[in-house]
C-alpha cells in the first residue's frame, strides 16, 4: 500500500507545478495590482509607481515566478502583502472555518442523502421514488444565497435560536458551543449537495440490484432489509464514496456565496477578498492549497476503494 501512495504523491508534483504556473500567469494578467489597491482611490500615479517599485512588481514575470517558486519549494508560500503575516498563517486562520463547515456539511449530507437514496432505490419507480428524485433536484437548483438568507430570517431573526453571522474561533477559544454559528451555513451548503449524492446512491444501487449475488442473497432467505443494506448498498459504496469525495473537495473552495451571506472567515472568502485586493502571494497560496487538498482527497478516496472492494487490493492469478 505504501508503494502505491508514494507513487501517487510523486505524480502529484507535476500537477502542482502545472497548477502553479497557470495560477501565476492568470493572477498577473488581471488588470490592477496590489500597489493600486493598497493606496486606494485618491492615490496619485507616481505614488502608485513608487509602491510598485518597492514591491518588486516591475521585475520580469519569469523572475518573480522563480523567486516565488523558490520559496514554495521550501514550504514557504511567501508573505501576504496586506496582512503582515505569512500566507500559510492567513490560510490557517481561515482553514478552521472552512474545514469545520465542510465536515459539518458532509455529516449532514451523509445523514440526509444516504438513507433517502436507499429508500428511493428500494422503492424504484413508485410515487415515493419520483417524489424523492424531484425533491432532490429541486434542492439542487435552489440558489445558495436565497436558502441562506431565508434560513437566517427564520431561525435567527424570527425564532432567535441561532446566531445570524460570524464565527468565533473554536480551537482558540476552546468553546465548542461556537459550532452553533455553523449550523445554518452548513445546512444551506448541505441541502443543494444532497441532491447529487441521493441521485448517485439511487442509480448505483439500481445497477447493483440487478446483479446475480443479490438474487443469491435472497435465495439464502435473508430479509429484504439485510439484502438491501448488507449486499446492495455495501456494493454501491464505491460510486457513492467517489462522489462524496468529489463533493467534499468542491466544498472547500465552493462555499464563497454562503460564506459571504453568513460573513464567515472561510478560505472561499479569503480567496475572493485577496483577488479583490490583488494580494498575489495569498491568491497563489490558496489555490495551490486547494489543488493539493483536492488531490489528497482523491488519493484518500482511491485508497478507501481498496478497503471497500477487495478486488482492487490485488487480483488473483486467474
Amino acid at each position: 500500500m505504501l508503494r502505491y501512495i508514494i507513487k501517487r504523491v510523486l505524480s502529484m508534483i507535476p500537477s502542482l507545478i502545472l497548477t502553479s504556473i497557470m495560477v501565476f500567469l492568470m493572477v498577473h494578467l488581471i488588470p490592477g495590482d496590489p500597489a493600486i489597491t493598497m493606496l486606494g482611490d485618491s492615490a496619485t500615479e507616481e505614488s502608485i509607481e513608487q509602491m510598485r517599485e518597492e514591491m518588486g512588481l516591475n521585475q520580469p514575470l519569469v523572475n518573480q515566478y522563480f523567486i516565488w517558486m523558490g520559496k514554495v519549494v521550501h514550504g514557504d508560500l511567501g508573505d501576504s502583502i496586506f496582512q503582515n503575516k505569512s500566507v500559510m498563517a492567513t490560510i490557517a486562520d481561515r482553514a478552521e472555518t472552512s474545514v469545520l463547515l465542510g465536515v459539518m456539511a458532509m455529516i449532514l449530507i451523509v445523514l440526509i442523502s444516504l438513507p433517502i437514496g436507499i429508500i428511493a432505490a428500494v422503492k424504484v419507480n413508485t410515487w415515493l421514488d419520483q417524489g424523492i428524485s424531484s425533491l432532490a433536484m429541486f434542492l439542487a437548483s435552489v440558489p445558495a444565497f436565497w436558502l441562506g438568507l431565508n434560513l437566517m430570517l427564520l431561525f435567527s431573526v424570527k425564532l432567535g435560536w441561532l446566531p445570524t453571522s460570524g464565527f468565533p474561533s473554536v480551537f482558540r477559544s476552546g468553546d465548542w458551543s461556537n459550532l452553533r454559528y455553523l449550523i445554518l451555513p452548513s445546512i444551506s451548503i448541505a441541502l443543494p449537495n444532497t441532491a447529487l449524492i441521493i441521485r448517485m446512491t439511487r442509480s448505483s444501487m439500481l445497477d447493483v440490484i440487478k446483479e446475480d449475488y443479490v438474487r443469491t442473497a435472497r435465495s439464502k432467505g435473508l430479509t429484504e432489509n439485510a439484502v438491501y443494506i448488507k449486499h446492495v448498498f455495501r456494493n454501491s459504496l464505491i460510486a457513492v464514496v467517489s462522489s462524496l469525495g468529489f463533493v467534499f473537495a468542491s466544498l472547500i473552495s465552493g462555499t464563497v456565496v454562503t460564506e459571504s451571506v453568513f460573513s464567515l472567515p472561510g478560505v472561499g472568502q479569503l480567496l475572493v477578498s485577496s483577488i479583490m485586493l490583488r494580494d498575489y502571494p495569498v491568491i497563489q497560496g490558496v489555490i495551490l492549497i486547494i489543488a493539493l487538498v483536492f488531490m489528497i482527497i482523491n488519493l484518500l478516496v482511491d485508497i478507501s476503494y481498496a478497503k471497500i472492494d477487495p478486488r482492487i487490493r490485488y487480483t488473483s492469478a486467474k
Partner: protein, 523 residues
C-alpha cells in the same frame, strides 16, 4: 416495508447532534462584573487603519477612535481645535504658529510633544493621500519649543486648518518613532499608538477589530458635541465586526448579535424606520456620485460643448429616485456643497438637471459627436455606482449617445483609469468635505486631469484668501467654472444611513460623516 435499521440508526444520530448544539447556545452564564462591549457591524474590512495614506471610510470610522488630529469639526463642520490649543497666522498668512495642548499622552504613556507632531506632519506631507496640494505651498515646518510648531508657506495657504481637521487621508498624529519610521506603506498594526479615547487591542482577519477604553485619556473640557469636545469613552470595549452583506448586518441587529450597523441598503429604509426596536440615523455628510470626464484624451478632451450636451441629457430626479429610492435619502442639489454649508452656491446650477434628450442630441451633433462609443468605467463592488450608471446609460442611449458601460472590480477599474486611452467617463463618488479644495477633481493629478489656466489661478486665489466670506465668493467662481468646463457632473446628494438598537444612548441625531462611539452607553 419497515424502515431499514441503518436509516433509523442514522437519523437518531442526526437528531442528537442537532439537540446537543442547540442546548449549549442560549445559556452562556453572564458573569457579574462583565466589561461592557459595544458591537458595531461595519460594511467592509479596511486593510489598514493608517489614515494618513488611505481614504477608506471604514478605516476612518475605526481610526478616529485611536488617533486624533490637531483639529476636528463641530456640528456645522467648522474646524475647531482638538490636540491644538490655539493658533495664530502671521505675515498675512505665510506663517502659522500652532501651540499644542499639554499633558496629552499617547497610548504608550509618552507625552505628545511638537517633535511627534513635526514627524507626523512631515510623513503626511511626503506620502499623505490628500497632502499633494499643500505639499506645493508649504516651505518648511519648524519646532519652536516643546509645545509650539510653525508652518512656513511659500504663499498664503488658508485651507491648512480644514486639512488638519479631516482625518480621512489627513494628518493623524503618531508618536515620533512611528512617524519617522513610516514610509509610503501603511504602518503595521503593532504601531497603532494614538492619543484617542480608545486604544487598539487586536485585529483578527475577517472577524473583528477590538478597541479598549484608554483609561488616562486627556480629554478637552468643552461639552461633547458631534466630533468635537470631550471624547472620553463610556463603553469598556468596542468591537468593529466586518459584515459584507447588508441584509446579514440588518438581520444581525434585529437578532441582537450587533448593537450598531453601518450603512443599510436604501430599500430597507421604510421597513427599518417603522421598526420600533431600532433607530434609523441618516448621515449628515452628503455623498456625491460623480461622473469624471477624461480631459487628457478621447472625444471629451477640450470639448466642453459635448460635456454640456451630456449634462443636458441627464434627468437627475429619475436617476436618484431609481438608484436610491426613498426621498429622505437623496436631494436634488446642483451645488457642490450642501445648503447648510458656507460654500453652498447657486452658480451655474441652472444648466443642471435639464433632462432634455432632444436638445442634448442636437448639442452633441454641434459639438462634432458622430456616435463614437463612450466608454464608462464602473466599479461593480459599489452597488450605488452600478445602479446610477445603469440609468445614466439608458438615458444617454435615448439621447443618441452610444454608451459602452464596462463593469470591473475596484482594482481593475482604477488600473484602467490610469491609462487615458482606455476610457471617456469614469464613475466614482466623493464624501462631503468641509474643505472643498481637496475634492478630487481639484487635484490635477487625479484621473480626469482637469488642469486649465482659469482653474489654476482661481485655486491659487482661493488658497491665498484667509477671509472666509471672500473664500466662499472665490469658491462660487470655481463652481461657475466647473459648470462651464465640466470636469465632473454631480448627479445629486445622497445620504447613507446607519441603524442601531434602541438600547443605545449618546449618539447624535444625524451621523457626523464617520460615526463616533465614545459617548455611547448600552442600556
Amino acid at each position: 416495508m419497515k424502515k431499514s435499521k441503518k436509516f433509523r440508526f442514522l437519523s437518531s444520530v442526526m437528531m442528537a447532534v442537532m439537540l446537543l448544539t442547540l442546548m449549549a447556545s442560549p445559556f452562556a452564564i453572564a458573569a457579574e462584573e462583565e466589561p461592557t462591549v459595544l458591537r458595531v457591524a461595519v460594511e467592509n474590512e479596511p486593510n489598514t487603519l493608517d489614515n494618513q495614506v488611505v481614504t477608506n471610510d471604514c478605516a476612518s470610522t475605526i481610526g478616529q477612535h485611536i488617533f486624533e488630529t490637531l483639529y476636528t469639526y463641530d456640528e456645522d463642520y467648522n474646524a475647531v481645535p482638538l490636540l491644538a490649543e490655539s493658533d495664530e497666522t502671521l505675515e498675512d498668512g505665510k506663517v502659522v504658529k500652532i501651540t499644542l495642548r499639554q499633558g496629552v499622552t499617547f497610548h504608550n504613556g509618552k507625552e505628545m510633544t511638537a517633535e511627534d507632531v513635526y514627524a507626523s506632519l512631515t510623513r503626511w506631507l511626503e506620502y499623505g493621500s490628500r497632502s499633494s496640494q499643500m505639499r506645493e505651498y508649504i516651505d518648511s515646518i519648524e519646532v519652536e519649543d516643546a509645545y509650539t510648531i510653525t508652518l512656513n508657506f511659500k504663499q498664503p495657504y488658508s485651507p491648512w486648518k480644514n486639512l488638519f481637521a479631516f482625518i480621512n487621508g489627513g494628518p493623524a498624529i503618531y508618536p515620533k518613532e512611528v512617524a519617522e519610521a513610516a514610509t509610503q506603506e501603511p504602518i503595521s498594526e503593532d504601531q497603532y499608538i494614538g492619543t484617542g479615547p480608545y486604544c487598539f487591542v487586536e485585529h483578527e482577519q475577517a472577524r473583528y477589530f477590538k478597541l479598549e477604553k484608554y483609561e488616562d485619556y486627556a480629554a478637552r473640557d468643552e461639552e461633547a458635541e458631534g466630533l468635537s469636545g470631550d471624547r472620553t469613552g463610556q463603553m469598556d470595549e468596542i468591537d468593529f465586526i466586518p459584515v459584507a452583506n447588508a441584509s446579514t448586518r440588518i438581520n444581525g441587529l434585529l437578532a441582537g448579535d450587533y448593537d450598531y450597523v453601518r450603512i443599510a441598503t436604501s430599500d430597507m429604509y421604510e421597513d427599518l424606520s417603522a421598526n420600533k426596536d431600532v433607530v434609523v440615523s441618516i448621515n449628515k455628510g452628503t455623498k456625491m456620485p460623480l461622473m469624471f470626464f477624461n480631459s487628457k484624451a478621447g472625444i471629451f478632451k477640450d470639448n466642453y460643448k459635448l460635456r454640456q450636451a451630456v449634462l443636458t441629457a441627464l434627468d437627475m430626479e429619475e436617476i436618484m429616485s431609481i438608484a436610491v429610492g426613498p426621498e429622505e435619502l437623496w436631494d436634488l442639489n446642483g451645488s457642490i456643497n450642501p445648503e447648510w454649508n458656507m460654500f453652498y452656491s447657486e452658480e451655474g446650477i441652472d444648466t443642471w438637471n435639464q433632462a432634455d434628450p432632444e436638445k442634448a442630441q442636437q448639442m452633441a451633433e454641434e459639438a462634432g459627436y458622430q456616435g463614437e462609443p463612450i466608454v464608462i468605467l464602473i466599479n461593480n463592488t459599489q452597488q450605488l455606482h452600478v445602479d446610477i450608471c445603469t440609468v445614466i446609460a439608458q438615458q444617454l442611449e435615448s439621447a443618441g449617445f452610444n454608451v459602452d458601460a464596462q463593469r470591473l472590480d475596484a482594482a481593475a477599474q482604477q488600473a484602467k483609469r490610469a491609462d487615458e486611452t482606455q476610457w471617456d467617463i469614469h464613475f466614482t463618488h466623493h464624501i462631503f468635505s468641509p474643505e472643498p479644495i481637496i475634492y478630487n477633481w481639484m487635484n490635477a493629478g487625479y484621473a480626469g486631469w482637469w488642469d486649465t489656466e482659469e482653474k489654476r489661478d482661481l485655486v491659487s486665489k482661493y488658497v491665498a484668501e484667509t477671509d472666509p466670506e471672500k473664500q466662499a465668493k472665490i469658491w462660487s467662481d470655481i463652481q461657475a467654472l466647473t459648470y462651464e468646463q465640466i470636469p465632473v457632473i454631480k448627479t445629486g446628494d445622497c445620504y447613507e444611513f446607519d441603524v442601531y438598537s434602541v438600547r443605545l444612548t449618546g449618539l447624535d441625531e444625524r451621523v457626523p460623516l464617520w460615526p463616533c462611539f465614545w459617548r455611547v452607553t448600552l442600556a
